[in-house]
Assembly symmetry: C2
Homo-oligomer: 315 residues x 2
């Protein structure tokens, strides 16, 4: 990749940017001199975000704009991108950061059809349709832009509670691995970020439905501040790093599941792989044992919830 990429003077398009990681990413892009288009659904949160963006601008020439669209549909994603490009003479953004997404942990046998479909929409569709619209526009205009996807530590491994969420974060990894390869045809760069849990409004929301056993397994995790995560994300994008991770545990898991994804420093990869070789299997065996021990408590919980009183094929 040679020379470092810089957001200064560029047009950056950020989804899910009214709060959490998306907002922090947008703010840092503004502080580094980018024009930033922020897309999300909630008008009130967007207005509040715009106020923050404005106080962080470093030049009067930066264009800071908010757009309210539903990005879970292909049409919404296309319209949002088109609207944001109008201010720039219809030119594709230099970089799109696809940060939209929310986690809804739930027991598999207690999930509803909408839990699964909702995670497809909020995680996979928001990233797929926007990256699709952006790739087509960049390819048509021969813009050598960047597409940045946001997966999760749970796109690298998974465990009890994440049957609706983790598959979609895995799907984003599959999408990024494909796009990294395919968009070489157009000189479009692809990046994927694997953040761990972050102290965000979304994190508070997900803890409301999170199964007790899942919380227990996560109790020694250290969630990250979203502005710290955003800084790591941006540093990775500037350096041309395909696969970006911020915390130690995620780096260990990632090293054990790299497959053909490009990796930066091979010596660093090797060290994390050795740690992972012993650590990850030991971690899983510990978690497996916790789950097995929890089985009778879980059985009592399901009894109390009336799970066994329903017809055998009940949803």
């Amino acid at each position: 990749m040679g020379q470092k990429w810089s957001p200064k003077g560029k047009h950056c398009y950020v989804t899910g940017a009214s709060q959490g990681l998306g907002l922090c990413t947008a703010l840092q892009l503004v502080r580094e001199g980018a024009s930033v288009s922020v897309v999300a659904r909630d008008r009130a949160k967007l207005e509040a975000a715009l106020t923050q963006l404005e106080t962080n601008r470093i030049s009067p020439s930066q264009k800071l704009t908010i757009y309210s669209y539903d990005l879970s549909t292909a049409a919404g994603a296309q319209q949002a991108l088109q609207a944001a490009c109008e201010l720039f003479g219809g030119q594709a953004p230099d970089a799109v950061f696809l940060c939209a997404g929310a986690s809804r942990p739930v027991f598999f046998v207690e999930a509803t059809e909408d839990d699964f479909k909702g995670q497809i929409e909020t995680i996979y569709y928001t990233a797929l349709w926007s990256s699709w619209a952006a790739a087509k526009l960049m390819a048509r205009q021969k813009v050598h832009g960047k597409i940045v996807l946001v997966s999760s530590t749970l796109g690298l491994m998974s465990f009890v509670g994440y049957s609706a969420y983790a598959p979609m974060k895995f799907a984003l990894r599959g999408l990024a691995d494909t796009l990294y390869s395919e968009l070489l045809l157009y000189g479009i760069g692809v990046h994927i970020f694997f953040p761990c849990g972050m102290f965000t409004p979304g994190f508070e929301e997900e803890n409301k439905t999170k199964p007790g056993i899942t919380k227990k397994i996560e109790e020694e995790d250290h969630p990250m501040q979203p502005d710290v995560a955003a800084a790591v994300l941006l540093k990775g994008v500037k350096n041309g790093t395909y696969s970006i991770a911020a915390d130690f545990n995620t780096k260990v898991f990632r090293a054990t599941t790299q497959s053909s994804s490009p990796y930066g420093n091979l010596a660093v990869k090797f060290i994390f792989e050795v740690i992972g070789w012993f650590g990850v299997a030991a971690w899983r065996r510990g978690v497996d044992n916790s789950i097995r021990k929890y089985a009778s408590e879980h059985d009592a919980y399901l009894k109390q919830k009336g799970f066994f009183d329903k017809p055998p094929h009940a949803a």
Copy 2:
């Protein structure tokens, strides 16, 4: 896992079993003495499959039945399972083999919205809804059954042409990793199979839309006969192996992307990891170069297809 599992006298439920891997799996289960319920959409293919199943039965007590349902909806999956269980007094199957699925390779910028949605339905939904229905039934009836998911080599890595397909095969890996963990709560076993390309009707179908560069990258691959793949799948399930692969290349890729998934023999894993450490990165660099070299030919192809004449935001 100790004692080996045997399909003899068990009720096995196989989806996507009117042809290809599903049919071969069903036939081997019949030859080993299982009662087999076969589910697919196409009535004529199901009738032909039943004739084959009947000629392979080893005992008059085996129940061999076909069911035509649309498994891409939660309701269809639930109804199909319920119908198949009726013959067994409503009892959950001992094992469900979720083989439904089809690949539709296509260039990202040429894909239609339905290409993406179709792959969600044929790959992710067919496995999700059936595993969901089966897990709930097994949990309610305290049946310590087995749920077998079928991913692909392209659930372990991906490249140009598979932007609609690979993400869903990755999603199945995320689902299986979660269910392996979560269904420990109920004593339900989970397996995932990663077959390479197979000489099946589906393989002939996918080659019709496969981009030229994708075919070129795959030209030295050796597709497998589906009955050989089915034998490896069944052997893995009998041995209680969580992650099952049949061919050398898939085993190499898998060793580099194992994460917290349980693995069998660690010495074997180590050997494949060492091969993968050098081989996979070299493979990717070679593929990346092929794609870059193909860029100008691809540009001419898109020109000829009128891609650049459309409005910039055209679908």
